[in-house]
Symmetry: C2
């Protein structure tokens, strides 16, 4: 789209520092929760003095909010394949694949989101009431259409969506538990494939689409 603009040294370091801080913050918030996380810890992990964090992000809350927004954007994007699918097998199948992949690649973000919602969404309540509500209504309508067309069994679209969220995000949020039950080892590529396949098989058959 835009021509490759000249990036000043200032802009470059700014972007790099912000990314560094956000990445460190995501990890620390995921591991310690909002209350347990400290700016000092985030600073150390980002390799910057604490005062510098406050130059880029005025308050702890502001930094936290950015982290939460990031994962939310990623999830919204994951639903693209959902829409243009001809039916539930392709649409829901692709959605499960995408969300499982996110659980693997962005486990920390998922945990931060889970924490935020569990504590009553003090920071992103407006997102829930606007973006997420609209998003949900749209997909529920699509699922209902598939049901009306006889492409899947009649199930409550909303509860199906909750189930998709729950099962896929579980592999991120409860990853530590799963690892422990896996003998203390992280899931291998093969095991991740098996997890994806299990979830897809059970749900797609469960909604009468396979």
């Amino acid at each position: 789209m835009s021509a490759p603009e000249r990036i000043s040294k200032r802009d470059a370091t700014r972007r790099e520092n912000e990314a560094r801080i956000l990445s460190a913050a995501e990890k620390v918030f995921a591991e310690a929760g909002f209350g347990g996380a400290t700016m000092q810890l985030i600073a150390d992990m980002a390799g910057l003095p604490k005062a510098n964090l406050h130059y880029y992000f005025a308050t702890k809350e502001e930094l936290y909010r950015k982290v939460v927004q990031q994962i939310f954007e990623i999830w919204l994007h994951a639903a693209d394949s959902f829409d243009k699918a001809p039916g539930p097998v392709e649409g829901i199948g692709a959605y499960i694949d995408a969300k499982m992949e996110i659980s693997r690649r962005h486990a920390d973000g998922s945990k931060v989101w889970a924490s935020e919602v569990m504590h009553g969404a003090p920071v992103i309540q407006d997102y829930l009431e606007t973006t997420l509500r609209d998003w949900t209504a749209g997909r529920a309508a699509l699922i209902q259409k598939w049901i009306d067309e006889g492409k899947m069994a009649p199930v409550d679209p909303r509860h199906l969506l909750y189930m998709l969220w729950a099962t896929t995000q579980h592999y991120a949020d409860f990853g530590h538990q799963i690892e422990t039950l896996n003998g203390g080892r992280t899931l291998s590529d093969t095991q991740w494939r098996a997890a994806k396949a299990s979830v897809k098989t059970i749900i797609l058959r469960g909604i009468g689409a396979a």
Copy 2:
């Protein structure tokens, strides 16, 4: 079992205070997380001076550990019906019912557990490695037996268990999100029944047991 023993006034108030504190702590830990919770807040909610909490529970960690243990016990107990069932329809169906009921009645406990596991289970790692590991192995074996007997489709028993945990606990842990998407209202009796039915229908059909 035991004869109705004479309960001294001391024992009575002790028990009452401990219960009061544990109940308040569960709520505060669920709402604020371990790091965000303060002994002062718990004390206020329990209607006791802060120093009194430290008389009953030496440290914040000790109090927290007790809260986590409570929900864990409740969950273990919920699996009783699982065992003595003749097949997956009764066994898994009853387990889903029980766990959904717990999500409704003990949402705070569920959230505390989720938080604990998400943050790497610093306090109850030993439980995961002993009790939970054994429990999981036992149920996985039972599910495998059902599969071998042709009572359900061949699915990975562990991933099925994860799915059961994820879907049922989601209604507690993400209850706030669900409420928001429900127009800001808590689920009614009817809606809870529908939720249970949806989960059971999809999963039981998904494993080829209905």
